[in-house]
């Protein structure tokens, strides 16, 4: 790490500490009951809200590390959620159970895989403009996601479907604090936490992880070493599409029904995922922690209500978006991999 990057990190950390101190001081000054706001239930809900964002962020991070900016993750999430919802309904004949939820998530992953392959071919083989094509994918999702819902239910929103049950791990669930947060909640939360660690390990400690980083930082060197840059990028982009699709499916599995009005139930979570990995400085664990911050902002509304602070829902719902702008303003100048957005053509 260069001195410059180390300096950047110090500035970031100082800023983060500064914001926390200001938040605590403000809370004390306004006499807010912090203990009543940050409850175990709040952390549990925040983690569930953070899960789809974290999955999307980890995927997007891999793509960008490999040198391709997958800005289409929001679209993948919409397709993931819509596919999971419609599949769950169709395979169960209208009365889904727990097994159908898992099958729906699986179906959603497979459909996302197919879309991701096509998208990767357009980006890499046909050198599509990454920003415009990514935006296009969002619009395609905004159109065809609700379209699927209308075909199945004659409405942009689904009726109540099945949500995923909590998984209670015996013994571990009784551990104070950590028990209810990780071992008596949606199994997808634990899955995501494990995945974040694995993704971090894989990126930094395996040969393929190095290849991904080299494809984004110095593709010529990777090519010289005899590794096919294009193939590494395909793998990373397809992975990011699948992860975002999974994120959408998980969002649906936690919500238990599909909403297709407005910007759909995904409502910017894919974009927030991109910010989460920028905020996490391209580190999968950092990205997951950042996702938790946004998940917490998303769930703050219930907490404020329980302690009797009246803020209109409509405005509290905007906290995550305002949070994103704040984060980008303070941490905006992240050091992106140097070859992001450039197509690479081997000399051979």
């Amino acid at each position: 790490m260069s001195d410059d990057a180390a300096g950047d990190n110090r500035v970031r950390n100082a800023a983060l500490v500064g914001i926390l101190v200001v938040a605590v001081l403000a809370a004390t000054a306004l006499d807010l009951p912090i203990v009543d706001i940050v409850t175990i239930g709040f952390v549990e809900r925040s983690l569930q809200a953070a899960t789809p964002i974290a999955l999307t962020a980890i995927g997007g991070l891999y793509a960008e590390k490999s040198g391709v900016f997958n800005i289409g993750v929001e679209g993948f999430m919409i397709f993931g959620a819509a596919t999971a919802a419609t599949t769950m309904w169709i395979i169960s004949g209208g009365s889904p159970g727990q097994g159908d939820v898992w099958l729906a998530i699986l179906a959603s992953v497979l459909v996302s895989l197919a879309f991701a392959v096509v998208f990767a071919v357009l980006l890499i083989r046909y050198e599509a403009d990454q920003i415009v094509a990514g935006l296009a994918l969002w619009f395609i999702g905004l159109g065809f996601g609700p379209f699927m819902a209308v075909l199945v239910w004659d409405s942009r929103n689904s009726p109540s479907l099945e949500g995923i049950n909590d998984l209670t791990v015996p013994v571990l669930a009784d551990v104070p604090v950590l028990g209810p947060i990780f071992f008596d909640t949606s199994p997808l939360v634990l899955f995501t936490a494990v995945l974040a660690v694995v993704a971090w390990k894989f990126l930094n400690d395996t040969r393929y992880g190095y290849w991904i980083q080299a494809a984004g930082e110095n593709p010529e060197a990777l090519d010289t070493a005899g590794i096919d840059v294009t193939r590494v990028r395909y793998a990373a982009v397809i992975f990011s599409g699948v992860m975002a699709g999974l994120g959408g499916a998980v969002l649906l599995a936690h919500a238990g029904s599909f909403t297709g009005t407005g910007e759909t139930m995904v409502s910017g979570r894919g974009w927030i995922g991109i910010v989460a990995y920028l905020f996490g400085n391209y580190n999968p664990i950092g990205a997951a922690v950042a996702a938790l911050v946004f998940g917490g902002l998303d769930m703050l509304q219930i907490q404020l209500q329980t302690v009797g602070i009246e803020v209109p829902n409509r405005l509290v719902n905007l906290f995550p978006y305002a949070g994103v702008i704040l984060v980008l303003t303070v941490w905006g100048s992240t050091r992106t991999p140097s070859a992001v957005g450039e197509t690479y053509e081997s000399e051979e």
């Binding site: 905004l142 379209f147 905007l318 305002a322 980008l328």
Partner: protein, 358 residues
Amino acid sequence: MLRASVIERLAIATASTALALLIGVTIVAAAGYDPVQFITSMLQGALGGQSAVARTLRFSTLFILTGVAVAVAFRAGVFNIGVQGQFVVGGFMTIMSIVWTAPLLPEGAVGGVGLILIGFVAGAGSGGLYGALPGALKAYADANVIITTIMLNFIATGVVGWLVQNPFRGEGNAAPNTERIPEYVSFPSILFDSSGFSIVGLAIALAVVAVIYVVMERSRFGYDMVTSGHQESAATYSGVDAKRTVVSTMTLSGMVAGIAGAVFAIMIQGYYTDPSGIGTYGFDAIAVSLLAANNPLGIIPAGLLFGGLESAGSHIGIYTDVPVQLIDGVIGLVILFVAVPELFRMAAVRTGLGGEKR
């Protein structure tokens, strides 16, 4: 795409639209609807009769204005995805400024024109400010414009939605709407006797196109904007302040979006309502601008095409069972294909229609 000739761009735009529509029709057929009937009702919805044409032109007016707003920014290399938010803020401020100042001015035609002017100034001003904010964040904090503008869209919709529901809801309104602007604050009906469309609105849109064309292509300011977007180092070398240029680009883009909001507010609605239900003109505008290769003059045919699509969409929404969301998806496909000129170049080479081999 920058190096492509005008004919190539035109071919890409046509091929993208045709391919997207073809996929749309295929999906319609695959979903079990009658594709021939679908195409007939699309055409009928866009062009069948005076009221259909008026509706098409009404949508086209908005697409031309929002399209130009997008083009200003994209041309300068600034990805302003926030035209929708700037459109909403501009439209809302137009209505509120007219409602607030109406008691101070005389009633009738003179007062009407005065209020329309006030509305336009408020719309353009507030839209410009709402665009300047992400511009400044980009220039001075390096915050990604794509993401900040998308977030500001959500915030604009949420805050205006709350404002019209609560503090600014018109007295005695059951629906979450602001007060109505006075009857005499409206564009005259010339040629078309249709509520919601006046040729004056279209004329304003075309005038804005002309002004922006001159600014972008013929002025020093436009030249600096475009060069700093595409050759930042060259622009800096010739003494252009890149940071200030980003802010002014975003301000100009937001102002045009605000004017679009003002036209929408005065010509179509006459009051303001929850923006989550008013249509996504600012998003579709991205497709309009890209289809026109971000050229202000190209926006006119692209805006007419999208006006026709949208008008056809509202027709099939009423008269057929085909879900109208299909049109949104087709618009997304158009953008996707426009982003991949290489696809068409290769196809052209393969089929012997032209295009250079590399």
